[in-house]
């Protein structure tokens, strides 16, 4: 069962042992995962982990060296039928800057055999006021919303969203989350790449954490947190990191994952450290523990 309590048992994407090697690096090294209808699967990882290469191989933008991919129950290459049923939002999107929002939606609709109603799309993504505005005059957030809208223009069954909320203010991010969840509830399989851990935790049914071209762990956000063995996290200024052997420094803060919270707090107070925070572990802590770095 996924988060919305739906049975996501129809597999829309199955990736088996795909590999992509470059002379100096194994960009994708034997990766397998699957996405079901009505499910949001998030791929997380630091820069250079192989997320984008993996997604681009699945989208058909890059060739793979080995492995196989099943789209909608059939192992095959990206063909016309697959393209019609897949939607994509890149991290950096490019448009005909001198077309209006409405013209752009119509253009993309014309490139597919099926599509959502333009009005409905404009309404869902709250682009109504900007429908006659040229894209070059849109704000970054409005462009981002349009890019996500275009990912759904062909009413796809499988959607790839690469950093869909980057550059949005917190309110706009939450609005977009609601839209994504709305499409999920319509049975769309969604593959999300994000560096916002709260986003992944809020939206994902399954999370795949990648590093060095491999998936290093997988599961639902709660499963990952539970299986990490983290009881609590203490966050304190990095200059005191030497107090604990296993503290992880990331930026201005050090993070201590511990089961013995009381002893750790006692140690901090003994050293006159009072500006610390004790909290339950999050997906971000799991990520930090596994990769040793905060996501950029």
């Amino acid at each position: 069962m996924n988060k919305n309590g739906q049975n996501g048992n129809v597999t829309v994407l199955q990736v088996n042992n795909i590999k992509k090697y470059y002379p100096s690096i194994k960009a994708v090294d034997d990766i397998s995962f699957e996405v079901s209808a009505g499910e949001i699967a998030s791929i997380l990882g630091p820069n250079g982990a192989g997320k984008t290469t993996t997604i681009e191989i699945i989208e058909g933008l890059r060739t793979k060296d080995d492995g196989e991919i099943s789209y909608f129950g059939k192992f095959r290459e990206v063909n016309s039928e697959v393209k019609n049923r897949v939607g994509v939002c890149f991290q950096e999107n490019s448009f005909f800057e001198d077309l209006t929002v409405s013209e752009t939606i119509k253009l993309y609709k014309s490139l597919y055999t099926k599509s959502l109603d333009t009005k409905e799309l404009i309404e869902i993504f709250e682009l109504g006021e900007k429908v006659k505005t040229r894209i070059r005059h849109l704000s970054g957030g409005q462009k981002q919303r349009l890019a996500v809208a275009l990912a759904f223009v062909n009413d796809p069954d499988l959607v790839f969203l690469d950093e869909p909320t980057v550059g949005l203010d917190p309110h706009a991010r939450r609005n977009l989350w609601e839209i994504i969840l709305k499409f999920k509830s319509r049975g769309k399989g969604i593959v999300l790449t994000t560096h916002y851990m709260d986003e992944a935790q809020q939206l994902s049914d399954r999370v795949y954490i990648m590093d060095h071209g491999n998936i290093i762990t997988r599961g639902s956000p709660q499963e990952l947190i539970n299986s990490s063995g983290l009881e609590s996290v203490i966050e304190f200024p990095e200059e005191y990191s030497a107090l604990f052997e296993d503290a992880i420094v990331a930026g201005e803060y050090a993070y201590l994952h511990t089961r013995d919270t009381v002893s750790a707090i006692r140690e901090l107070l003994k050293n006159n450290v009072t500006n610390f925070v004790v909290r339950h572990p999050t997906l971000e802590d799991v990520f930090l523990k596994l990769t040793g770095k905060k996501i950029d």
């Binding site: 989208e59 933008l61 014309s110 062909n154």
Partner: protein, 332 residues
């Protein structure tokens, strides 16, 4: 919709609109202002078996009755032979109208013969290479240069900027095929080219009274040259994009200026030193200018040569365009 998008962008994008529409008009007005006064200097020679007074001082008087061969070899636009009460008007240039002056000449000739009856005038259109006035020559050149701009900038825009910024990557994920993309892009450029050249023709006529309107039977040939010119210019844009990638746009502007220099549009190629004259053979605008002159009745190239150049340009454009689209739409 893709065709509509490309076409719309051509007219909404400030830079493209300037390069495609405004710049040719600026050149037209600039060179028209420089060469405009020469427009009325139509070469007219005349022979009369009677002494005529106050004939236009720019007209050349012939002392002996010319033969047809002599008339053809004189290099005049119009030759009038008034002999034995009859006037033969040999028109070697249909660009320039001298009807009113021919009427005055006829009246003077009739008066010199003391005849009140109407002198019989026979017009002969000589079907061989015409002479263009400097202004006509340049206006035709401006059309060629405007098409170079339309095609080359489109090539660069498509294969450098759109490819670079990921628009092609996004198209790869749709069912758009390379032929549709190429037809849409070139179709939009051809329409833009036609509009641009039509504006040059209309403004030439309105401002400088230069008649570059095409007779209906030549419209197909004219459109064929527009198509060929756009295709070769598009191909050039593609080559620039493939070689220079991000800087293709700047290189295109430099190349455009160089091409104008070598095209023979703004001054005769013979003005250049010999080695540079050879360079001009490798610049498409030179041939585009020749093709347009051919459409306007100038024997710059044989009929066979005309079709060979046009077809070569079109094939080159299609091959380069398809290659580039295929390259950009291919998985990495």
């Amino acid at each position: 919709m893709l065709f509509y998008s490309f076409l719309t962008v051509n007219f909404r994008n400030t830079l493209l609109f300037f390069m495609n529409i405004i710049l040719p008009i600026v050149f037209l007005l600039m060179f028209g202002a420089v060469f405009g006064k020469q427009q009325s200097q139509i070469g007219v020679a005349f022979y009369s078996d009677r002494e005529l007074s106050e004939v236009n001082s720019n007209w050349k008087r012939l002392d002996t009755l010319p033969t047809l061969e002599e008339i053809k070899s004189m290099g005049n636009d119009v030759v009038i032979v008034a002999n034995d009460g009859k006037m033969d008007v040999y028109l070697l240039s249909t660009f320039s109208s001298v009807d009113s002056e021919i009427t005055i000449f006829r009246l003077k000739y009739a008066s010199a013969r003391n005849e009140k009856s109407i002198i019989n005038v026979v017009e002969h259109e000589i079907k061989f290479s015409r002479q263009l006035s400097d202004l006509e020559y340049i206006m035709i050149g401006v059309i060629a240069i405007s098409l170079l701009s339309v095609g080359m900038n489109a090539g660069v825009m498509l294969f450098s900027e759109y490819a670079q910024y990921g628009l092609f990557k996004r198209f790869m994920l749709t069912n758009v095929n390379r032929l549709y993309l190429l037809i849409s892009a070139t179709g939009a450029q051809i329409i833009t080219g036609i509009i641009s050249s039509l504006l040059v023709i209309v403004i030439s006529w309105l401002v400088f009274k230069v008649n570059l309107f095409i007779s209906p039977q030549l419209i197909v040939a004219y459109l064929f040259v527009v198509f060929a010119s756009i295709m070769i210019s598009l191909g050039l844009g593609v080559i620039l994009s493939l070689i220079f990638k991000k800087s293709a746009s700047s290189i295109a502007q430099i190349l455009y200026t160089i091409f104008m220099f070598f095209s023979g549009v703004y001054f005769p190629i013979t003005f250049l030193p010999k080695p540079l004259q050879i360079v001009s053979y490798f610049t498409p605008p030179r041939y585009m200018h020749m093709l347009f002159q051919k459409v306007y009745g100038i024997d710059t190239v044989t009929n066979q040569g005309f079709w060979i150049i046009c077809t070569t340009f079109i094939i080159l454009g299609i091959v380069l365009g398809s290659y580039a689209i295929g390259k950009f739409l291919k998985p990495a």
